[in-house]
Every structure is written in C-alpha cells, then in structure tokens.
Symmetry: C2
Subunit: 134 residues, 2 copies
DNA sequence: CAGCATCCAGGCTGATACTG
DNA sequence: CAGTATCAGCCTGGATGCTG
C-alpha cells in the first residue's frame, strides 16, 4: 500500500488538508486562481513541445483572441512559469519558452491531462444522464 | 530515464498533443472548463476526507457563498464526480460524497496540490520580481 | 437545514482599430 | 510581427429574501 505513488499522494493531500481547516490563504488557491483560467494550460501545453513565437501560439490555439493571448502570456511570465525573449530584428520577433519552473509543472499537468482523457467518456455519459433526470 | 514516472507522463503529453494540433475540442478543455473554476477543487478536497452535509461544506469553505456552493455542487454532480443523497428527516439533511470517478480524480489532483505547495514560494518571488520590473 | 428566485455590480472576454 | 487601446456584452458571483 505504501508503495503505491497514487496512494502516497492522496495521503499527502490529507496531511496538507489539516493545515488549512478553512481552506483559505492556501497555495492551491493562490496558484490555481491564476493557472485555472481558460487559456493558461493550453499555452503551457503548446510551449511544452518547443519555444514559440507570438504568432505561432496564436495559430496553434486557434480560438484565442490576441488580447487574451497577450494577457495570459504576461500573467504566466509574472508567475515565473515562462520566459520572454525579444529579438531586435525588423520586424521584431518575440520568443516564449517554459522556464525551469514551468517545466516542473509539466509533471502534475500531464497527470491531469491523462486523467481527463481517460475519463472524458464517463463524464460525458454522466452529463447526459443528469440532463435526462432533470 | 524510461523508468521515471514523471518522464513517462510528459511523453504521454507529447503524444496527446499530436492528436490536437489546434488545441480545440479536446477533453482537457471540456473537462477543465468545468473543474477549473474557483470552488470545484476546494469542494473535492473537502469531500476527500469524508462525506459532508451542505452546512458542513459551507462552514469549511468559509468564504464561499450559498449560491456558489449550491451551483458548484450541482455541476460536480452533473459531471458524475460527486453523489448526492437526501435523508428525509425533519429538518431534511443532504449528504455529498465523492463518487468512484471523483475519487479517481484525487490522484492527479494530489500531484497538483503538492506542486503548488512546493513551488508557491518561487511563484511569489517571481511575482514580486516582475512587479518591480514593471 | 438545505435550497431557490431575484436583483445587481464588476470583471472577464472578444471584436475592432491603431502603433512601432 | 507583436503588440496596445477602447468599447460593449456576458457571465460570474455576492446580497437578500423566501420556501418546504
């Protein structure tokens, strides 16, 4: 039992939970409020493959607006998850890449993505079922 | 290298990425758009310890409003992550608990929580540094 | 106790137009 | 190319009052 990494993590969650009885002012909220928006995760996933220029990101995340891309990139940079490098060419080009901190986030993120993929079907079924009941 | 679970997961992310070149209509977006709001994760964490009644949840997540608690619980139920049981007592009591699907979510969630906890300091420093630069 | 209905302010978000 | 600026709609989310 103690050898299972998933079980180990869940136990860690229990221990963590005792430190925040009111679920306030905890790292989860401070960090997730930033990361859990509509676009951050998608940008990080895109940058996981390789550094991207602004236009590349815009083309890959097809339905993001320029405004939201700029804004989200800035927020991710502020949190130290991505790095921004400007090349003073004409026309100018800017490259975004994951920082070491950002790369370290790929591990938990991957687990999350894998879970969503595995359980997408079950969730969609549950939604339909729930829709019928209502 | 191939034995490292984290490395394995990141490789999974790369493979997954190839299926969604435009990062659209993928499970991540469909699922995360629901889970990545302000309260879902906190409710799941609270329910991870034990089933809760409505009022218990309200007291544990001190700054959630009644409206948001009701709404988020309903959404989580619709997605099949939690189960709702009504006891026809007077006054009535309602119990919420994680479904098997919800429990399976604890593994990736724990990894995420652990990461936020470990890197909270680095992120806060990055924010301050970024604030000075601007 | 557990919830619903209503109202309302504020922020998120996209569309559009413009700049170095 | 890589942004900035402005405007307007929508939806989140809180406050309040009421019900079974």
């Amino acid at each position: 039992m103690s050898g299972d990494p998933a079980t180990h993590l869940v136990h860690g969650l229990q221990r963590w939970r005792q430190r925040y009885p009111a679920l306030q002012n905890c790292a989860v909220r401070d960090v997730l409020d930033q990361l859990a928006d509509k676009w951050s995760v998608l940008i990080i996933i895109a940058l996981a493959a390789k550094p991207h220029r602004f236009g590349e990101l815009k083309r890959e995340i097809v339905d993001i607006s320029q405004r939201m891309l700029t804004q989200t990139l800035r927020d991710l940079q502020a949190d130290g998850l991505i790095e921004r490098e400007v090349f003073p060419t004409t026309p100018p080009s800017v490259e975004y890449r994951l920082s070491p901190l950002g790369k370290s986030f790929l591990a938990p993120l991957s687990a999350l993505v894998a879970w969503t993929e595995e359980n997408h079907g079950a969730i969609r079924e549950a939604r339909e079922e729930f829709g019928k009941a209502a």
